[in-house]
Symmetry: C2
Subunit: 461 residues, 2 copies
């Protein structure tokens, strides 16, 4: 196919309109990008090392340090203009011993161990653990309505992700508040611990961790995610009898640790002050190996830099690959980057984050400052005819946590959007591994992002 | 979301145009279909039984008989107007003992066993096997060009699937001729056996079987698929030294066996003579459990019948679910169905086959008789605004092997098209199992097909 396109391009007659010529040139270039990626990409091999060999990379962990060093070394092999480490202090949360969550008093079934994971940032239960009666709610609002009836109890948030949402991120957005705010909401009314149904539409035995946020107005109580099967079981038992649960965790927060964002850059030849950022986050949860979340996003961004060199493309604008540290439980890397960028009066014309996994690309979601969004988004929409042949759409929507703080620079903030159906099967679990990432799907993501970078760089906003 | 739509619909003011009203009603109904499927579908549980419990279902095998009985029983539970078995005689090919394909003379590496599977319909090698020198070609044309130089040799077809094809079925279409015709093409020039690179873009150790077709003008020689890693290895060795391979298989073709297509039908209330077929094929290869190929297509079709009842939908036209037997190595079930349908002067207004796996839906491809295609396709295109919110497109393209013989009835022949990136990781292998099918992706496929059936039935062609 490329051969035909090549012939086509070489034979573009001189009398063709400039507009049509540049459209054909762009279509040809996008096809070149896809051909290169599908035959010479390195992202899959990089992801193998980052996820499979290094493993889970929670901020402050030895694996996180290994990931910083590995990705820096790989970027060093690409012949970029600069590769550097940007320091940031990150929290150091450690899970400690294997968690225990056990139903202790079921007349029907005796003692039942539940598949559980402490939530990130959670305090430990103390060495003796906690035993208390469980009260089930389906939402934060229901916890409020119970109020004092939660005193001395373990509050159990069992609001499922809505399976009828076609985009699973919408279902996640509606349910995840239970995990983030549930513990403090319960503690405000005297709850002594929290259990949260895992954030997935699947029914299985795999618990999904993720961060919680404690609020100042309540004591910090230990919180755990339990698998959806176990949440169903617990809910069923609660309909028949009062249920007491023993839970124990030894997780704790240690002093902050110095860590880094990994940054690689190619300076623009004409408008070096206009930055196009491509990025993902380098840290991942400690369980599993962070292959989809967000190893995939990191190697997508690195592959864009690799492709620019392989294609011999000379960017007019500065293309910067940023691998952010500590997205999962603090966003410290991102905050350090935002401050540094603002202090240097930088302008991010566009920032693209890939943090929704390495699945088959569907397109991009964009947001931005109200003053400029509509006008800039309109320009990008004009490129749709070039992107649609690759199954790529564009819609208004969230971008990415690590780039959200760049809004004030009034560029376009863009989130890469792959197919969402499988993401929450693996998200924050022990099974988010290299083996559930498909090579072609991962490569097509890099090609999609590179295609948009090419158009952003060539035409600007 | 449905709630809002419900309110929206109930509040449609009377002064609204009929056109707009029916559009809103259709949008609402499609949303209802998706809500039902994502909360009450049975297709995933059916697929578990069909693939995981029953297993590989090659035509004429005990598992194929079990699949006929199981799906008939399941259709019987749905309260259809008729459920029946349509007899057909099918070939009975058996693989026999585990195949052996071994490099016997490598000076560097000694004897090397290759991951191999006999191709479907292949003759056996005889009890002593065959040992001969290997000659590599990249295409049928290259085999022709070598001609007599293949005499006494094992011809090795090593033309890879083109990774730059975005739709993997296009790459398969370009490469699969080596598997189907390669053996006879080589035998025409005196080759004594054939090896074929497995049909996948992956590099791994998993051989992919599939059927070959012997032509009359050449002796029948045994043919095997080898894994892509082993094809690369063999090719590498051939560059350095002559390579002799020993290959042995005991596969054979036994006398034809009586089998069946499984058919379930709901008669149309207004135009019963206009048939809308939904189907897949019940047989699968003997290795693996035929989960994506084509258990998924069967349960998609069954789910459509289940949905019609669950939704309380009264079709104007006859909706017929057909689970075809022997698509993989004979198409005998399909031929019996075509003859029976033509003899009864039936008119299939539309036939939809799902035989590309149970992945996230992308849309449909349609073909038909030249006399009528454009006009009928134009009508379907008008429904795009209703389908696009669900990520569904429509394009001209192939439909399905089992329905291809209905072209003469001048209806529209439609192929369901899911995402194609993963299909050839599993196609015709031991790893095409229930565990690589995602519940939501499978259910969305059934919803997509039901949505099109609803529009076809309501508006006709």
């Amino acid at each position: 196919m490329t051969k035909y396109l090549a012939v086509l391009l070489l034979s573009v007659p001189l009398w063709l309109g400039a507009q049509q010529q540049s459209e054909e040139a762009d279509a040809f270039y996008l096809r070149r990008i896809y051909d290169k990626v599908l035959t010479e990409a390195r992202c899959y091999e990089w992801l193998d090392y980052l996820s499979h060999r290094i493993g889970g990379r929670l901020a402050g962990s030895p694996q996180a340090a290994a990931a910083v060093e590995y990705t820096r070394q790989m970027l060093d092999t690409l012949g970029l203009d600069t590769v550097w480490l940007q320091p940031c202090l990150v929290p150091r949360w450690v899970r400690g011993e294997k968690e225990q969550v056990r139903i202790v008093n079921s007349r029907k079934m005796g003692a039942i161990d539940l598949n559980a994971l402490a939530l990130g940032n959670s305090v430990g239960s103390g060495p003796l653990g906690i035993t208390a009666e469980v009260v089930e709610v389906k939402s934060l609002e229901e916890a409020d309505s119970l109020g004092e009836r939660l005193r001395g109890k373990i509050v159990f948030y069992n609001g499922p992700m809505d399976p009828t949402e076609l985009n699973t991120f919408n279902a996640y957005g509606k349910a995840a508040g239970q995990r983030v705010w549930g513990a403090s909401r319960g503690a405000r009314y005297g709850a002594v611990g929290a259990l949260v149904r895992s954030m997935t539409t699947r029914l299985d035995d795999i618990p999904h961790t993720g961060s919680l946020a404690y609020s100042e107005d309540a004591p910090k109580i230990p919180a755990f995610a339990i698998s959806t099967n176990d949440a169903e079981l617990l809910s069923r038992l609660l309909r028949e009898e009062p249920v007491r649960v023993f839970m124990r965790s030894t997780c704790q927060s240690l002093p902050d640790v110095e860590s880094y964002n990994v940054i690689g850059e190619i300076r623009g030849s004409q408008f070096p002050e206009e930055v196009i950022l491509v990025g993902g986050h380098l840290d991942s949860w400690d369980v599993g190996t962070g292959a989809h979340d967000d190893g995939a996003g990191c190697v997508h961004a690195m592959e864009v830099m690799h492709l620019i060199r392989r294609l011999g493309y000379q960017p007019k604008r500065t293309i910067r690959c940023v691998l952010f540290m500590n997205e999962e439980n603090g966003l410290r890397g991102a905050r350090a980057y935002w401050k540094w960028s603002d202090d240097n009066k930088e302008y991010h014309m566009a920032a693209i984050e890939s943090d929704r996994g390495g699945f088959t690309p569907r397109g991009f979601t964009a947001e931005g400052h109200d003053d400029v969004f509509n006008e800039k988004f309109k320009k990008v929409i004009e490129w749709l005819p070039l992107l649609e042949p690759y199954g790529l759409g564009l819609r208004r929507g969230g971008s990415g946590a690590d780039i959200s703080g760049l809004r004030g620079q009034k560029g376009l903030l863009i989130g890469f959007e792959p197919d969402t159906q499988r993401y929450f099967d693996y998200h924050h679990t022990a099974i988010d591994g290299f083996d559930v990432v498909n090579k072609r799907e991962l490569e097509l993501g890099a090609a999609a992002i590179m295609s948009l970078v090419y158009l952003l760089d060539k035409y600007g906003l």
